[in-house]
């Protein structure tokens, strides 16, 4: 296989182009490193949500998790509340992380139960359930902003290894796990098989219900983990902190070259998509454009990329 045929190739080209374009705008030679650090830090959050969303999208048309923002808020709020009442040691951190993951698991199971039991399209199921999660978060939060334990705040904002943000290392490790899961495990093949032809997969003996339950649970747990990390990173949970990650998780998946129609996914593209999206926004920022033009150009760029990328796939 030649490199330029890889589905994520053009996404990486675009990400580098955006990096150069932004870098050239920022004054001074030190801008490049700072820009890369910022892109890696903020890109990590998009990568983490994008990985989960990619897994769900891979299962085929209609499979999209719209409850990611609410799950992030709920997990961030509740885990910080739990940690706020503890001493801040290693046990606290572990308890917070575990509680966030458990919340994600619960959300994923609830989402899948709705899809399965009520036989409603996943988009509507996750959308209506996300209202409930959002309410739960509002109710438990009561407008209080609880600070994360200092150790976690330092870890999420720090750069302990090779000057690369810790968050990027975390995201990289998890991405590798996803790559193994998707490309080397039976589970990954089953997910792709369902996305390519659900009926054929079922007839071939793939346990469709169990596999899709697992993908929704994994996606929700990724969202919960992102919520936990984001809350620690930004010094507390906010009710709207997940809002931008709904579009981001889908955009990152599609820009990265995964098929929105399902059955075909790739992990490297998620990184390219995440870095590209962050760099585009900071590029538009550095041009000193107003909020309106910035929003407008972001939208136009996303659509242009999707239009071009899907045309590329139609050829072979």
């Amino acid at each position: 296989m030649t490199l330029h045929r890889a589905p994520w190739f053009w996404a990486w080209v675009a990400a580098f182009a955006a990096f150069l374009a932004t870098w050239s705008m920022s004054a001074g030679g030190g801008g490049g490193a700072a820009l890369a650090v910022a892109a890696l830090t903020f890109g990590s959050f998009s990568v983490l949500t994008g990985l989960g969303q990619m897994l769900v999208i891979t299962m085929g048309p209609g499979n999209t998790d719209l409850s990611i923002p609410a799950t992030m808020t709920l997990a961030g709020t509740l885990s910080l509340k739990l940690m706020g009442g503890m001493d801040g040691g290693a046990v606290t951190v572990l308890a917070g992380l575990l509680s966030a993951l458990l919340i994600g698991m619960g959300v994923g199971i609830a989402n899948f139960a709705l899809i399965r039991l009520l036989r409603i399209p996943p988009i509507i199921a996750t959308l209506s359930a996300s209202f409930l999660y959002q309410s739960l978060a509002i109710w438990s939060n009561r407008g209080l902003r609880i600070k994360p334990p200092p150790a976690l705040a330092e870890f999420t904002t720090g750069r302990d290894l090779l000057g690369v943000p810790n968050l990027a290392w975390v995201a990289l490790a998890i991405s590798m796990g996803f790559w193994v899961l998707l490309n080397l495990s039976g589970f990954g093949r089953r997910v792709s098989a369902i996305g390519q032809n659900a009926r054929a997969a079922r007839l071939a003996g793939v346990p469709v219900a169990r596999v899709s339950a697992a993908t929704y649970v994994i996606c929700a747990m990724m969202a919960a983990l992102t919520g936990f990390l984001l809350a620690c990173f930004s010094g507390g949970a906010a009710l709207n902190m997940g809002a931008e990650f709904l579009l981001m998780s889908i955009a990152v998946t599609v820009i990265g070259g995964s098929s929105i129609a399902g059955g075909n996914s790739n992990v490297p593209g998620i990184w390219a998509g995440a870095l590209f999206m962050y760099l585009i926004v900071s590029m538009l920022n550095s041009y000193g454009l107003g909020a309106g033009v910035r929003l407008l150009s972001t939208g136009v760029i996303i659509i242009a990329i999707v239009a071009v990328a899907s045309g590329r796939k139609a050829k072979p």
């Binding site: 509507i124 109710w139 579009l247 129609a261 139609a314």
Partner: protein, 308 residues
Amino acid sequence: MRLINPRLALPILSLAILIVAVFWLQPRAMSYVGINLLFNLAVPIALATVAQMIIIMVNDIDLSMGAFVSLVACITAAILPGNPALGALMLLGCVLAYAALGALIEARQLPAIVVTLGMSFVWGGAGVLILPSPGGTSPVWLTAIMKAKPPLVPMAIIASLLIAGVAHLLIMRSAFGVRLRALGGNARAVSRAGRSTVRLRAMAYAVAGCFAVLAGMALVGLTTSGDANIALRYTLLSIAGVILGGGEFTGGRVSPIGAVIGALTLTLAGSFLSFLRLSPDWQIGAQGAILILVLAARLLVRQAEKRT
């Protein structure tokens, strides 16, 4: 032909139950003014729901509806009163942009979810450019229409009936509507029959754009000012309304009358929750719960139908 489509039975029933519940909680609502207040904000939601229904009818979903209605509200409030010609031209441009979107989605076989999600940024950005801070005024004639007080029946009810009637005739009764529904039912058959699917999808989006423009204008007529974020919740409301009204996500199976009923039900659900003195924390959650309940009820009804 049966008088009432069985698909409509559940939406009508849920609306009736809600109306009874609201009147029971708040008997004062049972008056001309009360009903008008209850259903006033349903008019723009009903228009947006019909727009969303047309998109869902051709097997797409529009996640930019709220942002688009907000943009129309900005144009209506900021430009239409001072410069009617330019304002009308911009609104026409919005409809044409929608048509172009439909053509692009069909021609390049793009996922509508992603394109409309991207477009929500474009509409939002344009809205901020046109009206950087909330404000503007409603054109006098528009407010006059929206706040008219016809004898006996409140304006909100007349408008809802009118929207349902026009949408029903256009989608269910006209040859044009049949072709659009066929695009959702079996696009390949449509193209084999010699119709251009690109043109049809563009038309479907254009019609949806028209309804969405009307939704934005109606909203400004009621609130008398615009804001780039004024209608963001319409995206969710309109999708929920279509589903509550008995529409399906695939196959062109929708119901315009059901969609309007779904929009009325959702609006009423909001009032019902505030009459219940529910803690504001749970308002959004309760709407989600209502949506889930209705979907569960629909499943039970379907299963009962299958058994008989």
